[in-house]
Symmetry: C2
Subunit: 325 residues, 2 copies
C-alpha cells in the first residue's frame, strides 16, 4: 500500500494527515505552534508534524511515498516555491518544497495553495464527491477558492488560477488588501463584514454585537459572535450579512456563467458558523442571475463537508500525483 | 483525406468553409440570405451553403465526413438543439442538428454556439495558435466569448460556459438584455456605447458623430463611424470608449485571476475597426489588476486574426471531433 502525508500550514497550527492510495484517510494530527521564527523554523515544524502523523498511524516512515504541503499563499507546483504568505510574515519567496524534501529524507514534496488544496479535498472526500467540475469558495478573513475542471485541479498557465476573492465586482468600491478596488473580498470577507458592522456601530446604530463581544470578552468580531447576532435578528448584522450574501450570490453567478461547473461548495470560518441560513440567501441570488435558467437546478450550491481538514486531506491526495523522486 | 464543412449562421448571411484533417482551409464561401421564414427555411439555406462550399472546392459530397454548424444562441452539443436565437427571431428551441442531418444525407452534425466556435477557430488557426489556454472575447452588438482550456473547448456541465458578456461588473448598473443588471455587455457592448453616445448628444454635448452619420447617410452608429470619431479625437466618443475599454480591462483581469489562461483574444466588429488603439487602453488596466504580477507579461492580450471567418472555421474544425454516424 502506498501512503502519502499531507501537511497544512495555518496561522496558528500545523495539520497533518495520511491517506492511502484508495483515498482513505488513515489519520489526522494537529500541532499547535507559533510561527514567528521564519521559514526555516516553520519548515521544521511541518516536518515534525509529518513525522508525528506517521507515528500516530503506527506506520514506518519508509511506507510514505510523497508529501503534499498546503501553504497560505501563491504557490508554484513546478518549483515548490511559495511566492509569499502574508499571514506568516513571509514577504519574499520561500522554497518550501526543497526545504521539506531535505528535512524529510529526500521524499518528493508537492506544494499547493491551501484553498486549492481545500477544494481538492472537498472534491475527493467531501461535498464535491462524484462531480467532475467543482468550484470551492472559502469565506474567512479573506476569500479564497479553487477550481476542479474535468476532474483535475486547475492551476492555470502561471499557477495563478482560483483567485476567486479578487474578482472585481464594484470597480470603484473599497480598496482590497491586494491594492485593487471592489474585489469581492473587499466587499464581503469576514474582515469587510467586521469593518461595516464597526462603522455602523461607531455611527451610533444600536447592535447586540457590542454586548456579545463584552459578554464573551472578545476584542474581535468572531464568526461565533456574528452567528449569535444573526440568530437573534440584530438589524445591523442582518443588513451587513444580507449584503455580503448578495455578493456571494452574484459571484457564484459570474463563475457559473463563465465556466459552468456542476457544483459550488461554500466553506471557511464564516460559512461553518452561519452556513445553512446564509446559503439559503445566496442561492436565490445566484440562480436568478444564471444566464441559462432552464436547468439551473442541476448546479448545486452546497456547504463544505470537511471543515478545517479539507486542505490537509487535499494536500495528502495531491501528493499521490507527485512524480517519484 | 477526411474533409468537414463548417457553416455559420449570421444575422444576414451564411458562411461555409471546408477544412481537411490537417486543419488546412480548403475553401470559404459566403451566401447573402434573408432569415424571415423560420427555422426550416434557415436550415435549408445552411444546407445549401454546405453543398455550395463542396461544389466550390470541386469535392464530391461523399468526401465529407461531418458538418459543424455555428448558431447565434445557446446550443447543446449532445442534442444538437439551439435553445433560442433572438437575432433570428427564434424564441423556442430548434433541433438544428437533426434538421441538418436530414437535409445532408444523414451526415453527423455538431452544433456549437457561434462565439465558442469563433474562439475555437482563433485558437486553432488564428491568434490563439500554439497556446493551450485561450479566452476569446468578442465585442459587437453584444459581448460573447469562449474558453479553450487544456487544448479543449470548454462547454461546461450544462453546455452553458463562456457567457463572458454576462459577467456582472456593476451590481446596480444598467439593465442588460438578459434581464440582469450591470453585465459587462450592458456596460460596454456596441449597443451600450451607442446608447451612451446618444444620451450625451441628446443632452447637448457637441460631437462629430452627428456630422459623420449625416455624411455617411447612416441612421445607426456603425463601428466605422465610431472609428472615425475616435481617430478625430471627438471628446464624447473618447470618453465613452475609454470607459468601455476600462471595463474590458477589468473583465480581462477577472477572467485571468479566475482561470489563468495564456492568451486573451479580442475580436468582433468593434475590435476589428478600433482594435489596435483600443487594445492599448485595455492592456494597462488588465495588467494592473492581475493578482499575480511577477509574470503578468506571460499573458498576451491580442487582437483576433480571422475576422468573420473565425466561427465558420472553428465549426468546421469541431466537426472533426464528431462521432461517426
Amino acid at each position: 500500500m502506498k501512503y502519502t502525508v499531507g501537511v497544512d500550514l495555518g496561522g496558528t497550527k500545523v495539520l497533518a494527515a495520511i491517506v492511502n492510495e484508495h483515498q482513505e484517510v488513515v489519520t489526522t494530527t494537529k500541532l499547535k505552534t507559533a510561527f514567528d521564527e521564519g521559514p526555516q523554523a516553520v519548515a521544521r515544524q511541518m516536518a515534525h508534524g509529518v513525522r508525528k502523523a506517521v507515528a500516530d498511524a503506527t506506520l514506518d516512515f519508509s511506507d510514505i511515498v510523497a508529501i503534499g504541503a498546503a501553504a497560505p499563499g501563491p504557490t508554484d507546483r513546478a518549483t515548490g516555491i511559495v511566492a509569499n504568505a502574508p499571514n506568516l510574515g513571509w514577504h519574499d519567496p520561500v522554497p518550501l518544497g526543497a526545504m521539506l524534501t531535505e528535512l524529510l529524507d529526500g521524499l518528493p514534496v508537492i506544494i499547493e495553495n491551501d484553498v486549492n488544496a481545500g477544494t481538492y479535498g472537498e472534491w475527493a472526500l467531501g461535498a464535491g464527491r462524484g462531480a467532475q467540475d467543482v468550484v470551492g469558495i472559502f469565506i474567512g478573513t479573506g476569500i479564497g477558492g479553487g477550481l476542479i475542471l474535468d476532474g483535475k485541479l486547475r492551476s492555470g498557465a502561471r499557477s495563478a488560477a482560483g483567485e476567486i476573492g479578487h474578482i472585481i465586482m464594484l470597480p470603484d468600491g473599497p480598496v482590497c488588501g491586494c491594492g485593487n478596488r471592489g474585489c469581492v473580498e473587499a466587499l464581503s470577507s469576514r474582515k469587510a463584514i467586521e469593518r461595516e458592522i464597526a462603522h455602523a456601530i461607531q455611527s451610533g446604530r444600536p447592535s447586540k454585537v457590542t454586548d456579545l463581544m463584552g459578554k464573551k470578552n472578545k476584542t474581535r468580531l468572531t464568526s461565533g459572535i456574528l452567528a449569535d447576532a444573526w440568530a437573534s435578528g440584530d438589524p445591523v448584522v442582518t443588513e451587513v450579512l444580507q449584503r455580503a450574501a448578495r455578493y456571494w450570490g452574484l459571484l457564484t453567478a459570474n463563475i457559473v456563467n463563465l465556466i459552468d461547473p456542476q457544483r459550488i461548495i461554500f466553506g471557511g470560518g464564516v460559512m461553518e458558523k452561519l452556513g445553512d441560513t446564509l446559503l439559503s440567501q445566496v442561492r436565490p441570488v445566484a440562480y436568478q442571475h444564471f444566464i441559462k435558467k432552464s436547468d439551473a437546478d442541476q448546479v448545486a450550491i452546497v456547504p463544505a463537508a470537511l471543515g478545517d481538514n479539507a486542505g490537509v486531506l487535499g494536500a495528502a491526495l495531491l501528493a499521490h500525483l507527485a512524480p517519484p523522486n
